[in-house]
Symmetry: D3
Subunit: 328 residues, 6 copies
C-alpha cells in the first residue's frame, strides 16, 4: 500500500537508497578489521557545471565523525575539479556514496542548464516551467536548482515555498478552451486577481497572435501587464519574425507598455534571437528538466595518510582553492 | 529544518507540487461557473517509448469522480499515441496535470532506455547501476522503471525491496583500495558471504586485468562465479579485444566456468560488441539514469461532448486500441 | 524614343538580334567563295529537358532553301540528343544561329521546370503565376512553354489569348488591403462575377488562415469554390501541418466541398508534401520563371557531305529516332 | 498567324501582359467605390543586387496621375530596400504591377551577374556573349543590363545599336570548319576587315592551341591583335596552366603584343584565376544569361495616408536615402 | 669508398642488415643457457594482400636447422593470416627476423598494388614503369613482384633478365625533344628496329594528340603497332573524352588496327574508365612503386611446445590451410 | 642461382637497372647522328621535401663528360624546384635517367618523413626502427636517409656502420617470451652489458606497464637508464594518459631519473601528444619506412643551347639559388 515510489526523507537519511555493495564492503572490511581505516575521498565531475545540492549532503552527513570541505552552491566547476573532500574513518561515510553522488548529480545538471539559459537572457528574466516534465518528488529539487543557476522564479507551488518566493505563471490553454474565448476569460481573470498581480494573457489559443494581442490590450487597457505567446510547433513555434511583428504592431497601436512573454521549447540560442527582436521574458521547461545529471565520481585518494589510486588514476589529493571547510 | 528538498508522498498526493496556474484557473472558472464543465482530456507523448509510472497516477487520482482509460506498464507507444484519456468535471483532475505528466515523463524515459539495453543484451542479463547518478528520492522510481523496461536486477536496496527482489552488485574499487590487494579481499569476501551468493570479483584495480583474473581464479577455485571488468577510460575502457583475450586465457587455464561481467559507460552498441566476444553480463548506469524524460502533453479534446482544440491541433478524441478502462 | 528595349517581331525575323560575328563570317566566306558551301548542322542540349520553341524557329526559317528535321513540342530529350538538324547552303541559315538557339533555350528551360511541377502534382492541377518575375516581352513565351510542360492555365492575359484559353487567378492582397476586410470584398466579388466563375478567396491577409476560411465559407456558402492560402515566409509559409488542420476543420464544419488552393514559393518537393495532406491545386511562380535556360549548341557536322568536327567533338551526324522532317 | 510569341511594345504598354486578377480587382473596387483610393505602394527585392530596368518602367507609367520615387540604374540595393515608391489613386497603376515587377526582375538579375563578373575582371574588360542563350526578344534587354552591370561590350547587333556602341566579337568555329584551316581563313579575315578593326582569331578548332597561336601570329604579324581560346569541356576547357604556357611561348617567340582572349563557361572564380596567369580579356555567356531574375514584391504600405500591411509584414513606409523623385 | 649505400647480397645473407637488438638478445639468452630453446614463431600481416618475396627468405634460411611452412608466391592472404611458420632452436633464425620481415614487406606491398591494377585491366595488359621511382637496388625486386601480382612485362632491363622475359617500353619524350619532330624520329625508329618489334610511338610531345596520331599512322602505315598517350597533368592528363575522340578519329581514317597505349599517373579507377572508351594497354608507375610495404609481424607462439603470447595477443599456433611445408 | 633479387652495386653502376627505352633511344639518335647533341636536363620534384641520395648519383656519373649542379643533402626543396641540373652530350648520361631518379626518389621520401618526425620531437631524440619494414638491400639506404632527415640513430647494424655510429635498440618481446619473465632477463641484461651501455627495458610483455616499470626500477636501481613502452594496438596502444600515469608513479616512487622511451605506430601527431605528458624518446618505424618515394622528373630544357619543352611545360632553364656546381 505504498502509493508513491519515491524514497521518503527518512529512507534517504538512513541510507535505504544506497547500493547494496557498500554495505557488503563494510561487512568484509570489518571482518578484516579495516572498517575504521582513515581514508580521504574526493568527489569530482567529468564536465564543466554549476554546483548545487550540497545542503542535502550536509544534512545526510550531519553528526558523522568526519571532516569535510566543499564548494558553495552556485559556484562553477571545471572537469576533474575536486568539489567535495571527506576525511575520516571509512565506516562513517562509505555507505552514503550512492546517495551523495546522486543528490549532487541531479542538482548540478539542472543548475547548469539554468545557468546557460541565464547567460542567454542577459538582463532579462526567465521562469522555470519544467515541473511537468519530471517526477513530482524531484520537481522542487529541480526548481530550487534552477533558481541557484539563475532562474527568476518557478511555477511549482512547493518549490516556491521552499525558496520563500511567490510561485509564478499565467493561465494555461485549458482555461481558454473551457471558457471558449480568450477575451472573455481574460476579463474575469482581470476582475478576480488582486490589484498588484501582473496580468499576463496567453494569446495563441484561437486567433492570430497579433490580432488576439491587440484585442486583449484593448479590453484590459492599462491593467494588462503582458501577453504570452506559446505558438505550437504545428504552427511553426514562436519565431523572431512573429515577435518583431507583434512588438511593432503593439507599439503602433499605442500598447508599448505591454510586455511580451515567450514559452515553448526555448533554448539559449532561440532566447538570444527572440530577445534581440523584442521578447521581454521567458518560460523555460525541457531545456532545464531534460538536462542530463552531471555524473560525479568519488575516489579514495589517501589511506591512512598515504596516497593511493586505482590503475588509470593519479594517487594523492587534488587541490582546489575554492574548497572551504564545512562545519557539520 | 527540512533536510531533504524532495516532495513527500503526502505533498505529492495533495497536489503541492502542481503549477500555480492550475489553481488560478480553477478559481477563475468557478467565478464563471465553469469549473464543473465536463471535459475529456488526452495525454500523448512526442516520441516512441515504453510506458511506465501509471501505478502512481492511479493512486493520485483515486476517489476522484472521473473515468480513465490507459495503457499497461511495459507496453510500447508511438509518437502522438493517446496513452491516457480522462473524462469528468474539470475541477476533479485539472490541478493534477503537472503531477501526472511528471510522474509519467520520468518513468517512461528510464523504462525506454532500459528497453534499448535489453534489446542489445538479447538473452544475456544486465543490472541497473544508475542509482548514483540521480537524486536519491527518485532512485527507486528509476530502478523500478528499469526493471519494467527489462533490467534483471538493481543495486539500490530500497528499489529491490519495492520490487520484491534481492539487490545485486559486487565489491567496489573502494574496498580494494582500502584492503590494498585484490586477492586478499577476495578471499575474505569468499569466506564471509553465504554459500549461495554468486561471488564476482572486480579485477582492474591494481594489475593487468588478465593477470589479476587468473590470480583470483586460482585463489577462489570453483567458488568464483565471475569477474567484473570496469577498466577506466584513462586506460581505454573495456574493449572487445580485452574481453576476447580474457576469455581466451581464462579458458586456456581451465577456468571456462568463470563468467565475465562488464561495467563502465555501457551503451547498446558497446554491449553488442562485447557480447559477441564473450562478455556474459552487464552493469549499466548512465545510459539509463541520464535518459531524458519523455515529455507528455495533456490536451483538452472535448468540452461538454463537443470536439475542441487550440490552433495547430486537431479537435476531438484520438483512438488507441491499446487503451483499457481503469477502475480507480 | 524607343519605349521598351525588347526586340520587335520584325527585328527578330530579319536577324537584328544575331551576334555580329555571324555576319562577318558570311562576308569572309563569300570573299573565299565558300558562303554557299552545303553544310549539315545539328543542335543539341547538354541536359535532359522538354522541347519547346520550335514554332518560332520554323517561322524564322520559313522560305529559306534548307531542309530541316526536328522534335515535337512537349517531347523530352536527353543530353547530347540531336533536337534539330538543318541542311543547306550555309548562307541560308548561318546568320540565324544566335536567334534559333536563344528561342529554344528559354522555352525549353521553362517547359522543363513546368514538367517537374506536373510530375509532382500528379492528377492535381497547377497554374503558372510567374509573369511578374520575367520581362513582359517574354511573359507570354514563358506561360506558353509552361502549358507545353504541363501547366493547366496561366494568369497572363496575353498568354491565355495566344493559347486560346481563359486566364486564371484570384484576387491579390492589394484588393484585401484596400477594402480593409476579406469578408467584405469577398461578398462583392461573389455578387459581381458571372455565375460560372469559380470563386476562390485569399484568406491569409488579416486573420488566422483557418478562422478566416471558416468565416468566408459561412458568408459565401455553396458559392465558394475554394480558398487560397499564401502565408508569407515571415509567418513560416504554407506548411503541411497548416493544410492538414485547415482541411480537418473545414470538413468538421461541413465545408468539405471547399477546395484548398496553395501558392507562395512552391517547388516539386513542397507540392508533394502539401498534396498528401489535402491541398487541391497550386499556383507556381519562381520555380518556373527562374528556371535557367537550357543552353543549346549548334555544331557543323558535315561540309559538302564529309564528316567534320572541331577538336573535342566527334565528326559526322548523330542519329535520333525522334527527329521528323519539317515542311517549312 | 503570329510568328513570334513575345509581346509587342504596344501590348506591353497597354497592359496586355498583366495578370488577370488585377483587372478583376479594379472592377470589384469600382463596385465598392474604392478604385480611386489613394495608396502608397513600395517595391522591394529579397536579395542584394544592381538596379536596372527603370527606364522601361517610367515609359509604362508616363502620363499617369501618380508620384514616383526610384533608384538610378546601376545603383546597388540590399535585401528589403525600397527601390521604387508610387503614390496615387490605385486605378492609375494597379493593373501594371505584373509588368513593372517583371521588367525589373529580369533586368536586375542580369545586371547583378554582370557586376559580379566585373568585380572579378578588375581593370580588364569583358564582353557579354549570352544572346544565344535567351529568347531573341529579350536579348537586347539582357545585353543592355549587362552593360549597366559593367560589361564593356556586346555581340548582339540590336543591343549595340540601342547602347550606341559597336557590336564586338571574333569569328566562330563554324567559319573555321567551313574553311577547313584556321590560317587560311585568318588571312582572308585580315585582308577583308577595315584597318582599324582589332583582329582576334579563334585558335582551338583544329590544332593544339599553342601551336596554332604561334602559326597565326607568324602569318598575320603585327596585324594580329589577339587570339581567342575556347577549348571545349571535352578537352578540359581553358585552364590556368594552358594560359600560362600560351603566354610564355608567345612571349618567347617575340609575340608579347598578342592579347589572349578567353571564352567558354566563364565564372567570376575562373576569371580571377585565368587573369592572374595572363588572360587579357573575357567573353561571358551563361553566367549572365542564366542569372535568375531578382524577384520583386510590391506591397501597399499606406491606404489614404494610414499605414497598413498584411499579416507578416510591418505597416508603413520604409525609407531609403537613395530614392529620388522622378518626373514622369 | 663504397659507391652505393644498398646492402650487397653477401651482407644480407650474413645478417649485416639485422637490428642490433637481436644479436644482443642471443648473447643474453646464451648467458641464461636459453639460446637453444625450441620456439615456434609465426609471421602475419595486418592487411589483405598478395604474397611475394618467399624465394629470398628460403635462400636466407637455407641450411639452418629449422622447419618451415609457408604460402606460395602469388597467393592472397587476409589480415592476421599466418603466412610463414618457423620451428627450431631460436639461435638458428632469431637474428634474421629483421631481414625476413623486410624482404616480405616490400615485395608483398608491390605485388598487392599490381594485383589491384590487374583486376582493373581485366583481359587487357599492363606494364610496370615504376623503376624510376625506387632505389635502383630494389627496382628488380619491385618489377619481379609486379609480375607476380599480374603485370605483363617490365621496362627495367635487369628485372626482365631475372624474369627471363623481354624488357618492354617505347621511346621517351627526351628522344622526341632531341630529334625535334615526332614523325622524323618515328621513321628512323621504324627503320632501325627488328621486324618483329611492336612499334609504339609517343604522340603528345609537340602537337595535339589526335593530329599527331593521324600523322604518324599515315607515315608508318601498317608497321605502326600502337601510339602512346601520356598527356601531362598541366594539360589535364589523359582523359576518357580524349581516348574516345582518338579512337573515333583513328577508326574514321581507317587506322582501326592501331592500338592505344596510355601512361601517366594511372590508378585502377582511371584504368577502368579509360578501358571502357577504347584504351588497349597501360603503363603503370607510381601506383605500384609508391605502394606502402605491407608490414609483417613475427610472434613467438610456442616455447618448448607450450603456447605463449605477450599481453594483447592470443597464445598458441594459428592454423592456415594454405601453409605448405618447405624443403630448405 | 641468384639468391637475392636486388641489383648489385656493379649492376647499378653499369646501368643494368635502367629502362630499356633509354638504350633504344641512344641507338636511334646515333642512327640520326644526334646522340652527341649537347642538352641541358633538369630534375625536379612535385612535392616539398628534404634532399637526399645525391652521393650515390655523383658516384654513378663519376668520369662522365658532363657538368652538374645540385643541392646538398639535408636541404629542403619546394614543388618544381630544380634540384639537379646536368649539361653535356646526351649519350654521356641519358641512359642513367632511371637510376638517378630512383636513387633520389627513395632517399628523399624517407628523409622527408624523418624530418617531419624531427619537427614533432623538438629537442627530444628519436631512433629509426623501420629496417624490418623494407627490403634488406635498401634498409641501410633508408636509415642513412632518416639520419639526414634528423634521426638520432638507427638499429640496423650495416646502416650504423655506414654512418660511423653505434647501432641502437633495446631487447625485443622475443627475449622476454623465451625467458618467461621480464625481471629475470632484465637482471642478466644488466650484468652482461658493458658499464657505459644505457639499459632500457621493455615493460609491456606480461604485466601492467606501470606495475612492471616499478618492479624493474626496483630491481636495477640506478643502473636502469629507461623503460620502453610498446603496448600493442589490441590493448589500445601507448596513450597520453598511460604515459602521464607512468611518469607520475615513477616519480612518486623516487625513480624520476628513469627515462620513458615509446615505440609502436608513432606519427608526428602522436609524438607531440606523448611528449607533452612526459615521454623522453621515441622509436619510429612505419612512418618513415612507408613514406612514399618523392617522384622526380627529368626534363630536357635546352638542346644545343636553345630552350625546348614538350607541350604543357615551359621551355628553358629554371633557376634555383640553392644549386651548387659539383666536381665529379
Ligand atoms: Zn559557465
Ligand atoms: Zn500555446
Ligand atoms: Zn521499442
Ligand atoms: Zn574499475
Ligand atoms: Zn522528364
Ligand atoms: Zn499572402
Ligand atoms: Zn555588389
Ligand atoms: Zn572552341
Ligand atoms: Zn585480392
Ligand atoms: Zn608525355
Ligand atoms: Zn620542411
Ligand atoms: Zn610491445
Amino acid at each position: 500500500d505504498r502509493k508513491i515510489h519515491s524514497a521518503t526523507h527518512e529512507e534517504i537519511l538512513k541510507g535505504a537508497t544506497t547500493d547494496i555493495y557498500f554495505l557488503r564492503t563494510l561487512d568484509i572490511l570489518k571482518e578484516m578489521d579495516l572498517d575504521s581505516t582513515t581514508v580521504t575521498a574526493e568527489i569530482f565531475p567529468r564536465k564543466h557545471g554549476v554546483f548545487a545540492g550540497i545542503e542535502e549532503v550536509k544534512n545526510i552527513l550531519k553528526n558523522k565523525d568526519i571532516e569535510m570541505w566543499t564548494l558553495d552552491e552556485g559556484e562553477e566547476f571545471s572537469p576533474k575539479d575536486t568539489v567535495i573532500r571527506i576525511k575520516g574513518p571509512y565506516k562513517e561515510f562509505g555507505a552514503y556514496e550512492t546517495v551523495i553522488l546522486g543528490a549532487l548529480a541531479s542538482a548540478c545538471g539542472w543548475a547548469t542548464a539554468a545557468r546557460e539559459i541565464k547567460e542567454a537572457c542577459g538582463e532579462k528574466s526567465f521562469l522555470c516551467f519544467g515541473a511537468r516534465h519530471v517526477h513530482p518528488s524531484v520537481a522542487p529539487v529541480m526548481e530550487r536548482a534552477a533558481v541557484i543557476g539563475g532562474a527568476n522564479g518557478a511555477s511549482c507551488i512547493l518549490a516556491a515555498k521552499l525558496l520563500d518566493i511567490q510561485p509564478s505563471g499565467t493561465l494555461p490553454h485549458a482555461a481558454m478552451l473551457i471558457a471558449g474565448d480568450t477575451k472573455k476569460i481574460a476579463e474575469v481573470y482581470d476582475e478576480v486577481m488582486p490589484e498588484d498581480h501582473k496580468r499576463i494573457v496567453l494569446v495563441d489559443t484561437f486567433k492570430d497572435e497579433v490580432e488576439e494581442s491587440l484585442r486583449i490590450a484593448k479590453a484590459l487597457g492599462k491593467n494588462l501587464y503582458g501577453i504570452r505567446v506559446d505558438t505550437p510547433s504545428e504552427r511553426g513555434g514562436v519565431t523572431p519574425n512573429l515577435i518583431k511583428e507583434l512588438r511593432y504592431k503593439l507599439d503602433m497601436a499605442g500598447y508599448n507598455y505591454v510586455k511580451i512573454f515567450v514559452s515553448g521549447g526555448l533554448t539559449p540560442d532561440r532566447i538570444k534571437k527572440l530577445s534581440e527582436v523584442g521578447a521581454d521574458s521567458f518560460g523555460v521547461g525541457s531545456y532545464i528538466s531534460a538536462a542530463s545529471p552531471i555524473d560525479m565520481t568519488m575516489d579514495i585518494k589517501e589511506v591512512e595518510g598515504k596516497p593511493v589510486a586505482k590503475r588509470g588514476r593519479l594517487p594523492g589529493l587534488v587541490d582546489n582553492p575554492k574548497l572551504k571547510y564545512v562545519q557539520l
